[in-house]
Amino acid sequence: EVLPTTKKASVCQCLRLVKGLRKKCLPPILHVSRLNSSTSSSPVPRITTHYTVYPRDKDPRWEGISMERFADEADVIIVGAGPAGLSAAIHLKQLASEQGKELRVCVVEKASQIGAHTLSGACLEPKSLQELFPDWKERGAPLHTPVTEDKFGILTEKYRIPVPLLPGLPMRNHGNYIVRLGHLVRWLGEQAEQLGVELYPGYAASEVLFHEDGSVKGIATNDVGIAKDGSPKEVFERGMELHAKITIFSEGCHGHLAKQLYKKFNLREKCEPQTYAIGLKELWIVDEKKWKPGKIEHTVGWPLDRHSYGGSFVYHLNEGEPLVAIGFVVGLDYQNPYLSPFREFQRWKHHPAIAPTLEGGHRIAYGARALNEGGFQSIPRLTFPGGLLIGCSPGFMNVPKIKGTHTAIKSGMLAAETIFQKITDENFHSETAGVHLPEYEENLQNSWIWKELYAVRNIRPSCHTALGVYGGMIYTGIFYWIFRGKEPWTLKHKGLDAHQLKPAKDCTPIEYPKPDGKISFDLLSSVALSGTNHEHDQPAHLTLMDDSVPVNKNLSIYDGPEQRFCPAGVYEFVPVETGDGQKLQINAQNCVHCKTCDIKDPSQNINWVVPEGGGGPAYNGM
């Protein structure tokens, strides 16, 4: 007000320029002072260096580096070689060979080998596999364990209350197979290669490419050779562009490219937000006397309270050795920030109804993955110009059955049929450069997937009353068993999982028992069993939109829930080098790609992006 107008204007202009520069191009210095830091005035240590947060075109270290990419064309590109992606690829090639047409189908997969990132219970309903390969048995599909016994129980701290599984309840498994899904996926990969599908494991799709008209053009694989601080190394090389008429996104639960697509094409405007659970799993070689091949056991209740959705599974496999798959699922809408899904899993194993199976045995594998719980209400729009979504990415899991593989396979097949029809039709002219296929969504809504998910849509949300999980069980007994989901109402979910946490001061810390090293174990030795590893000299792929939020918000309000919900020990709050206070340390190498942090971070500040292809867990038949 004292300054003449012109000087004030130029000062303001200067300030704007400086602020703009700071926001866009953070030079590689360790400390960034925040003018409006709410709790402390100490500098925030620089954590995130990934180019998705700090773009390279504004970064002086990248001046002069060629960013050109090699490009190639295919008819269809599929992102993710899981059950859905591989079924789509296989079915496209089956149709092409039936009708004498040529189709180039390329599948990119971030795992170093097909099946290495696959983790599931799993109890497979074989109907869609039967549709894909009526001769699956002759082809040697690894379905070796038909279900022989199916038990359900409610656990209290000391006892187990058996619950009868009446015919008609979704949890009954008669006719199904216990499988090691990683091995089934590996087998699907072999079938795909035999049919001529081009499979590229070890190459992650890191970017969606767009035509000028906004339709999807394809994907680009990850760049390699970027150092931990974000600068280019000598071995830096750009990823490759793969262009296609249509791109299928089958990244599994909470895919990172799908997250971008939801925003870009507004695919979630009419559906409820997806809600999730985390599933932790171990494989055990048990004492032969305890081994009952084909037996399935599910429990709910202890150690979770009735307000925390979750439960366990114990599946006895029949593949030669006395192998048992055990696991624990915790709904990510839990409210207590002191809850640690990993430690709930470890203490559940000590229950008198569970521990005897494990005594005398030893653990040979560990892993974790997020899974969908939203069901029907959370299915987004599935198609957009140039692409479509299949499998657990949009989410077709039947929650009470805890099965999503059969619907994933079917969705892949439907996508293949719809795509094949369209792109081999000579009279078809697409309005957009990338093909738009709303017919896929129509076909899906007319299929048994839709009917099945509609019928069970109210079971999960019925757990949100004061009766908690038991309310859900009562609801299932009455409305599902009697009315088979025909009730005219559709219950809603609670909203985003990330918003369900209560502040730490309103909650009680949970006293978890120490692991005994025989039945229960510590986190780090468990993570080692997942075989996970990443090239260490690369930017952390767990990126923070704002480096100050973990300490200022997550730690101060919620006591840092990320150090508890991550099943791999990626997030640690450690003391700062000088002075008081803590900082977040991200051990990106431990990551098992479960996606829980991206889902449950109460500040939604963590953005999981794909690391260099080939990194991540090395699951074998999980």
Binding site: F70, D72, V108, S112, Q113, G115, A116, G182, H183, R186, Y200, Y203, T221, V224, G225, E234, V235, E237, G239, M240, I285, E321, I364, A528, L529, G531, T532, N533, A618, N620, G621
Partner: protein
């Protein structure tokens, strides 16, 4: 320079995987376990490809001995820049008995057959840690060897090799044809990027049997058993020096 270089690449269990001993104690579980190229073999291929890029040699041939899956490892080598591959098909019992002596006989035979002037190998494999194949191959061919190489300078008819030894660095000059084994600091291998993997599909991989090369795979070694290392016993803390001496006496140590 019209020299040909032979590079051996071995398919091993990935270094980050937790291995498990088979219940029958005959070996380690390999089925379905993540495998990758031995890290020292990656360094060997990188060195050979760099020599080719500098136009010091004409052709890089990647060799792997093993079952069908060894072809994946050769493909990776081709994607890194090797010109062609040779898969020596060894499987079953023969593969279980395949050790440095057998592999070096194969490499020696191939070196003669392909008229090779330089063999580059990794110094050792991370599964058996033998550190013998390079040395045995040189002996069978009666060629000089530059092992644990951290730098290789190509000169007209000879090589200047800087070696990592216990006392520090030793530089030797050896005449070609020769065998070099790569140590960690020789170079940083490049990534096998997707366009190169796609191009590698068009490069040739010949399959040969050890009998075609006149090699006898019989082994003088027999593995009796493979076991996990014994569990580490918990330590015991004592309060005073007297307690320590008493404990040592009681357990018969002193």
């Amino acid at each position: 320079m019209s020299a040909r270089v032979l590079v051996g690449v071995k398919r091993v269990i990935d270094y980050a995987v937790k291995i498990r001993v088979k219940p029958d104690k005959t070996g380690v579980v390999t089925d379905g376990v993540k495998h990758s190229m031995n890290p020292f073999c990656e360094i060997a291929i990188e060195e050979a490809v760099r020599l080719k890029e500098k136009k010091l040699i004409k052709e890089v041939i990647a060799v792997s001995c093993g079952p069908q899956q060894s072809q994946e490892t050769i493909r990776t080598a081709l994607a890194m820049g090797a010109d062609r591959g040779i898969h020596v098909d060894v499987s079953g019992k023969d593969y279980e008995n395949l050790g440095p002596l057998q592999v070096s006989k194969i490499l020696a035979a191939l070196a003669k057959k392909e008229d090779v002037r330089l063999i580059i190998l990794g110094k050792q494999a991370i599964d058996d840690d033998c550190n013998q194949t390079g040395q045995m191959t040189a002996a069978l061919l009666d060629w000089p060897q530059g092992t644990f190489a951290s730098q290789v300078d190509f000169q007209e008819d000879s090589l200047k090799v800087e070696r990592e030894i216990d006392g520090g660095l030793e530089t030797i000059k050896i005449k070609m044809p020769a065998v070099v084994t790569a140590d960690l600091r020789l170079n940083e291998p490049r990534y096998a990027t997707l366009p190169n993997i796609m191009k590698a599909k068009k490069k040739k991989i010949d399959t040969v049997k050890p009998s075609d090369l006149g090699v006898d795979l019989s082994s003088q070694l027999e593995v009796l058993s493979v076991e996990e290392p014994s569990q580490r016993q918990a330590g015991v803390k004592v309060e005073t020096v007297e307690d320590l001496i008493k404990k040592l006496r009681d357990s018969g140590r002193i």
